[in-house]
Symmetry: C2
Subunit: 315 residues, 2 copies
Amino acid sequence: MKRIDVMECVSLLKEFDNYLILTHRNPDGDTLGSAYALKRALDLLGKKSMVRCNDDIHPKFSYLWENVDNSEITFDKIIAVDVADKKLLGEEFEAKYGDNVFLCIDHHTSNREYAQNLLLEDRAAAAVVIYEVIRQLGVEITPEIASCVYTGLATDTGCFMYSNTTPTVHRIAAEVMAKGADYTLINRLMFETKTLQYLRLEQMAVSSIESHFDGKCAIMTVTRKMFEESGASSSECDGIAAIPRKIEGVKIAVTIRERHNGSFKVSMRTIEPYDAAKICANFGGGGHNAAAGCEFDCSLNETKEKLLEVIKEEF
Amino acid sequence: MKRIDVMECVSLLKEFDNYLILTHRNPDGDTLGSAYALKRALDLLGKKSMVRCNDDIHPKFSYLWENVDNSEITFDKIIAVDVADKKLLGEEFEAKYGDNVFLCIDHHTSNREYAQNLLLEDRAAAAVVIYEVIRQLGVEITPEIASCVYTGLATDTGCFMYSNTTPTVHRIAAEVMAKGADYTLINRLMFETKTLQYLRLEQMAVSSIESHFDGKCAIMTVTRKMFEESGASSSECDGIAAIPRKIEGVKIAVTIRERHNGSFKVSMRTIEPYDAAKICANFGGGGHNAAAGCEFDCSLNETKEKLLEVIKEEF
């Protein structure tokens, strides 16, 4: 499908009046922040739009749509933001909308080009792309739009900590903060709030950490029993796999999470030159160099043994 | 003592040739990053200087002085950076240098004006002040100076997460990143690396958390026994007081840390409108609205009782 630039995207957006804006499934701060920033900008242009997502949205994001009319409309065109593949719309939405997306605004190198595509792969967040579009649309960056953009920037860069953070990200952060982004609230909601139950789960998980190969490999286990005893909800636990990677000296960090059906999901994080995707490929898994995953249907002990056997070869 | 502005500071720095640069005790990324940024800038001007600290410096900071000649020199004048009070030089250094500081470059509202003072209280980090000075000194911002400045910015703002982060902080972060600051390395060293011993200490500390007043107050205790059992070093534990504040619903977060002499140091973090400085003032302590501290010479139980009695009045 056709690749377009920011100005062509702006022309397309001006052409129609009623838009359905779609986010990806398991919605995060970048897809939601981008979607609501765009919707708020279209509102200022007098156009009608609605943001929809295949999956439930965590209530912590509710400030994004404060005072927004997101009610049902009849739409002319569909826009997908931060959605690299129509599959990522989610099962129901893919079936319903997947072949009719008019415009995709994204930053993923893995983008499958399923629609007219404003794809800027060197941007750290879709919110950066959206910000550039909104600037060219000529609407005011209101405090609410600023907060939406800031949300995308901050969440996709781990609050400016990950290596994808660029000078441009910081420059836009400065601009949207100056325009009134409520960064204190957003940082607190996105990065600083944990339930006591989740802290207790972390505590149990840390106590499970095993160190192998002179501390170069750490294996942490999160069992269903830990969830039960801590009372933590699984929706809150996406970040838990980051823990063993933080340990000084660890090059290959493994988190084994017990599934409801008793199988085990492995998340692996590695530091160069160790290649998580390569290691996980041994078990039919995949991912990126620094972060990958795979699954096991055997017991916990067997899972560990199989992993250690392959990891041993790396050192 | 006399307050001076950035240009006056620049004139003073140009006037002499040999400087002793002092950091505060328990040195952190801001005092060290600021000191070495200044030293590197003075090096580029052909001046001689040495950075000294009363206390040991954690080896994770060693990139700050890479390829720097920090050997003993005979100095004309003493500069203190990020040191709000001559007491904060540390016992030995206060006795030795406290009354002879020529120039203080700082950002703390609590600054005691013990020397000629370039004090910019609205800056989030001393590194912001130092960056403004270096810009006016007219030297090149080398990648090494950029890394020193970035270290101060990032550590004093919790990687741009704390509410003291300003648009200016992000703007300077963008500038020093563009000048070659090695932010990926710095972020990993400062924010992502923990020893297994420290993780174990966190785990014990989390298990001590008590919840009071319907979860609005959390009290966490860190005892000497926990240090002994975990093997963690106290130099690594500055961030531990952030844990109870992260708990959902907590407005007043208290961390009680047992000292070597058996007394207890209390760190309090509050969310508006609760005022940590006001609460701690009841016990002879002080600090900021959102973060303050005080000390107790009684038992742990008495410490908690006294704190809860005063905190109760807040709700």
